[in-house]
Symmetry: C2
């Protein structure tokens, strides 16, 4: 059975794919709002991992709604969760999708669906939504990353990633300038997969 | 690296072991308070799965504390969680244990450690605690169980299991009689692994 794994090119989504690989036919899916070439960035990492990969092109209006939310809030949580929920619903509506996975881990706060949102998506669309790392803490993730991946880590603005934040930051930059990006997004270490061990 | 997987002989702990198998050296661990031969019951299922198995003999005092809690409360949650936490701490103290896993899944309420309890155990004992099924809902679990396991399901009192409840029910029965068991434990479908597919 095929598992669609939401893929940013970072360590968590990569490790989620590796954990599912023995049990499912993994297909990596990267979302893009066509603001930046995030699909191409993710494709490089996907090729290194050796999994098939596709780009899910999404309506730019979703990102613009998220922009309204984030400017209103002054912090990213609700905007990122809005994108995440919309992405999973979009994927769940596709005809041949029955299992969607993402890299959310135990200690993550964002993006994260509520239990009610997960149940609603599973019931409405007849899909299973799984988070292979949800029961893994930092030490267990680091252990597996060290064993299976070579990664590069750095501040968000210095790492070429394909997560929701990347294009959202760029949209804020285009419309409100660099200072607004720095004001809204706290310093945050991101990872990018260089290759598989 | 070895993973100690808490094992009741049911589908969730069996499936957790199967999910970890490609990445860790799985050892199944069944707790016993020497009230019933739960270690032997679990050993039969472990042999069917093909994993090494050991019985962790625990002080009967732990079960007696749980009995006090359950009689006081009139419902099982706190008593079962008390046993679960004590079992994980006992295992975490062992010299050669660095990774402990159990079969808790997304929709489980009991037994379940709080986030603070998990962090405390990981910090104090230098272990990683993981729940491979924590990000899996009912439909995904059923899918994998159907593919990898043949199970028997039935009400708790008709299924030979090796979970905490089994010996706790027996202790209640011995000290307070059958009616008290029925009063405290709601009807609940349990599973037992018959063999691996």
């Amino acid at each position: 059975m095929k598992a669609q794994v939401l893929f940013s090119g970072g360590k968590d989504s990569s490790l989620s794919a590796i954990l599912l690989d023995p049990f499912f036919d993994v297909e990596l899916v990267t979302c893009s709002f066509s603001i930046l070439p995030v699909g191409e960035v993710a494709k490089v990492a996907a090729d290194e991992l050796g999994y098939s990969h596709r780009v899910l092109e999404l309506d730019r209006g979703i990102l613009e709604s998220a922009l309204d939310i984030i400017i209103d809030d002054g912090y990213p949580r609700n905007a990122i969760n809005h994108i995440h929920k919309t992405v999973i619903e979009t994927l769940a509506k596709e005809d041949d999708v029955s299992l969607i996975a993402d890299g959310v881990r135990r200690d993550d706060r964002v993006p994260k669906l509520t239990d009610a949102e997960v149940r609603s998506i599973e019931d409405r669309f007849g899909v299973s939504y799984i988070c292979p790392l949800h029961g893994y803490g930092r030490s267990a993730v680091n252990l597996l990353v060290g064993r299976y991946l070579v990664i590069e880590e750095g501040q968000s603005d210095s790492i070429a990633k394909a997560d929701y934040e990347t294009e959202l930051r760029e949209l804020i930059r285009q419309q409100y300038g660099d200072e607004k990006v720095l004001e809204i997004f706290p310093e945050h270490v991101q990872s990018r997969v260089i290759r598989r061990v």
